[in-house]
Amino acid sequence: MNSVVAFLIAVLIYPGALAAVVAALVLGWARGAARGAVAGERAGNGNGNPLATLGEWRSGLRSGAVVPGVREALLTGGGAIAVLAPLLALVLLPVPGNPLVAAIGLTGDLAAEAALLLVVPAMRLVVGWAVPSTVTRAAADRSVRLLAGAVLPLALAVTVAAYQLDTLGLAGTPKAAPNWVGVVARVLAALTFIAVLPVLARTADRRAQAGVADGADDGESAGAPADELGELVGRDLASFRIAEALQLAAAAAFFVAAFVLPIVPGISKGVGYGVLWVAGVLLTAAGLGLWEGFVAKRPTTVEGTERPPLTWWLGWPLLVALVALVAASWAVRGL
């Protein structure tokens, strides 16, 4: 295939803009359905109905409302960057059928993909800090602690994956013959990334925003901490909603490509490969929704919501990542 045509197809259709939006809507629905099933939320209450979500995006993008006190360039540019980063991550990912793989031998890059997945949370923080509101700035401070606590496990998990593949590419083959220690290392790295997924694919807290919009002071919305995007309205908020949906698709695809597929290296082509991809991203999104449902169902107090998430530094994700690193070293060098 001509490389230019392959490039345009990859960017515009698959796995670029069109397929990414469709995947984002479907995965958002799976995530919302799982969350609603566990948390007992009403249908349509932010549970990710694709058509409702699409209508919400369209109406939001038409609105020109903007929060004062912030440079419009930041809101516009931040929203654009937040949307483009996960899209770019999907384009550069060697998913099955990506025309760039056949045209130019695209292998992807673990470091670039992981860094691009950090763009959406980072842009949320920038907007939260730039808006001159105590609420959003405090929320951004909470979120940055959450993100900082997730960065180290994420980096170590990606390191384990790259070390075992002996390349930063995602289409590599394991350095050593598969043994049980290597499989354990891959599973532990996958578990580490699963712990990081809720931070990477975090969405704006709809409970808090709904409570603010309705002026409600019920227990549910009052207990929800404010979000760093809480002041955004109109197309800026819609841009970040789209970015969050695309981020879910990109994070799930990266998880499957970097951590799930190396566990089953025997399946690398054919229908089974595609089925594994689709099932993997769907289950990832649904699992994320299940986790969010359990968290939402769990009784939270104000003290609990204000708990510093930076304690993750000394939490189990980092411990699991370190064990995975040691296991990967054992697997490569031998026990």
Binding site: F7, A10, V11, G16, A17, R62, S63, G64, A65, V66, V67, P68, G69, V70, R71, E72, A80, L84, L87, L88, L92, I104, G105, L106, D109, A111, A112, A115, V126, W129, A130, P132, S133, T134, V135, D141, R145, A148, V151, L154, A155, L156, T159, A162, Y163, D166, L168, V212, A226, G230, E231, G234, R235, P308, L310, T311, W313, L314, L325, S329
Partner: protein, 555 residues
């Protein structure tokens, strides 16, 4: 260091890229700082990124700063990423200890990025002065859109002229109108006054033509070097293979590695490069980014941007509305509501004192702590000796009347002291503020001294000296009371360096210890409102106050 330790030609090529990327990135950041008047040869002002607080918003310098920062920390698609990609790939291929070091280096870059984001974000906060400047420019081109106009729209005056406003925007505006109808009425009432004021402003502009001339793009011209560095960093991010091939990057690697070794390990293409254990195609990535950005731009609605009021609870007042009321506060209006990262440092304190993260830390660093304590103790003893000498010298003077002191000032280097004898009657001298004893803690322990040093740095000399005065009118001297007769007895208190002497000269110096130690932890642990980011109270990672507080259930 990782690349040099591996000795791999690919990693060494990464070093060549790293040098160029660091020069371009750091050059752009430094030049942007200079253009934004944040980097001076004098005391540097507080700033957010390159923009000093209270100065004009310069998009060029801010753009250069951002590009330089992302190039420096290795964000994909920018200058520094290719270097890190090559270095990381080589280090992972080598194995051994470099593998976890690569992961830690990646995490460090990400954490540095978060810190830079927090330091830069307030630069995008828009103040009233900025809006006013923009209004001047926009009014000339007929594109004026200000908060005042929003209020008019909210009052229903201009809704019929805004065809692009959709239903949701109208709902938002109506909500705003209900809340701000009074503001709209005030706008109507003040419309005539504004015309008069505009006429007066025009007259003032005619009287002060220099204001218009100062708005010439001088700042942008100063930002030109920063822009050049930033564009070079972007160019390096788009085509790192050009630097490696055309500009002799691979030839430079030949100094450290066998000749042509890098040619075998690294293969450049038109859109990037490919090594044996890594591939980076920035041409594809930038092309995709441009195409997607065009799609995103054309699919976005071009409806008119209309400002609406903040909706969250809490301190929801924008900074531009509070800037005037906060003039008496040292904090810049751009930082309004931005808390100090005190809790973060408290959490990190556990790492600095943990025997797991810092094995044998108490054994290795205990000596350093003892040295610091000994130095503090020696300084305290010296201060006490000087205080005793001063007390002995003051003993005959304390029995004299203040008028006598005015007539016979003992310190000849303060001739202005006898000129204002009424100052001791001021209420500030009689009632010292309760929180000010934090500033003077020369006799506290090493722990208290470390905390007190932070607080005393933030406390103006005026306040710190006021606390040293007692109710009996024996003022120990201060910047405000330097011209008082009492200050002549201890003029050393005028300078901050003399604080220990002043405090130790009190009859019971140990009474200063408790008020110094106790307020510090409470102040450090409180969610400081409106504190400066990176301020000294929250900036010491090893501060023991946070470690003490952490016994409240956190691991």
């Amino acid at each position: 260091m990782l690349a040099l330790s591996t000795g791999d030609p690919t990693g060494l090529a990464g070093v060549a890229l790293l040098l160029a990327g660091s020069v371009f990135g750091l050059g752009a950041m430094l030049a942007a700082l200079f253009a934004g008047a944040s980097l001076t040869d004098d005391e540097e002002p507080d700033s957010a990124g390159p923009r000093a607080f209270g100065t004009r918003f310069s998009p060029a310098s801010l753009f250069a700063w951002c590009v330089g920062a992302v190039s420096l920390i290795g964000v994909p698609l920018f200058g520094g990423f290719a270097a890190r990609q090559l270095t990381s790939a080589a280090a992972l291929h080598l194995g051994n200890l470099t593998v976890p070091l690569v992961g830690v280096a990646w995490a460090g870059d990400a954490l540095l990025a978060l810190a830079l984001l927090r330091a830069t974000a307030p630069a995008f906060t828009q103040l009233t002065a900025d809006i006013g400047e923009e209004d001047e420019v926009e009014s000339e081109s007929g594109e004026e859109e200000t908060l005042a106009e929003v209020a008019e729209v909210a009052a229903g005056k201009k809704l019929d002229t805004r065809d692009d406003l959709n239903a949701e925007a109208n709902e938002d505006i109506e909500d705003t109108a209900e809340e701000d109808v009074d503001a709209g009425d005030l706008e109507d009432e003040d419309a005539e006054d504004e015309n008069d004021e505009d006429a007066e402003d025009d007259e003032e502009a005619e009287l002060k033509p220099g204001i218009r001339e100062r708005r010439a793009p001088l700042g942008d011209i100063r930002a030109l070097p920063a822009l050049v560095f930033g564009l070079l960093a972007v160019a390096l991010g788009i085509a790192p293979q050009v630097l490696l091939g055309f500009f002799g990057g691979t030839l430079a690697v030949g100094i450290l590695a066998p000749v042509h070794a890098v040619d075998r390990a690294l293969r450049s293409t038109q859109v990037g490069y490919a090594a044996g254990f890594g591939q980076w195609l920035p041409g594809i990535a930038w092309g995709a980014l441009v195409v997607l950005a065009l799609i995103f731009t054309f699919t976005r609605s071009d409806s008119l941007r209309v400002a609406r009021m903040p909706q969250l609870a809490g301190d929801q007042e924008p900074a531009e509305m509070k800037s005037e009321s906060l003039e008496h506060v040292e904090q810049a209006p751009e930082l309004n509501g931005l808390p100090e990262p005190v809790e973060t440092w408290q959490d990190l304190n556990a790492i600095f004192v943990s025997p797991f993260t810092l094995p044998a830390g108490a054994w290795l660093l205990g000596g350093a702590g003892a040295e610091v304590a000994e130095e503090d103790e020696a300084a305290n003893e010296k201060a006490a000796r000087v205080a005793l000498e001063l007390d002995e010298a003051e003993e005959p003077e304390e029995t004299t009347e203040p008028e006598d002191l005015v007539e016979e000032p003992e310190v000849p280097e303060m001739p202005e002291v006898p000129e204002v004898p009424e100052v001791p009657e001021t209420p500030e001298m009689e009632e010292p503020e309760p929180e000010e004893p934090v500033a003077a803690a020369p006799t506290a322990s090493a722990e208290a001294a470390s905390v007190a040093s932070e607080e005393s740095d933030d406390t103006p000399p005026v306040d710190s000296s006021q606390e040293t005065s007692d109710d009996t009118g024996e003022a120990t001297g201060s910047a405000d009371s330097a011209d008082s007769p009492d200050s002549a007895t201890q003029p050393v208190a005028v300078t901050p360096d003399a604080k220990p002497t002043v405090s130790a000269s009190r009859p019971k110096p140990t009474t200063n210890v408790k008020p110094t130690v106790k307020p510090a932890p409470s102040k450090a642990n409180a969610p400081a409102k409106g504190g400066k980011p990176g301020g000294k109270s929250g900036g010491k990672p090893g501060g023991r106050s946070g470690g003490k507080k952490q016994s409240g259930g956190r691991p």
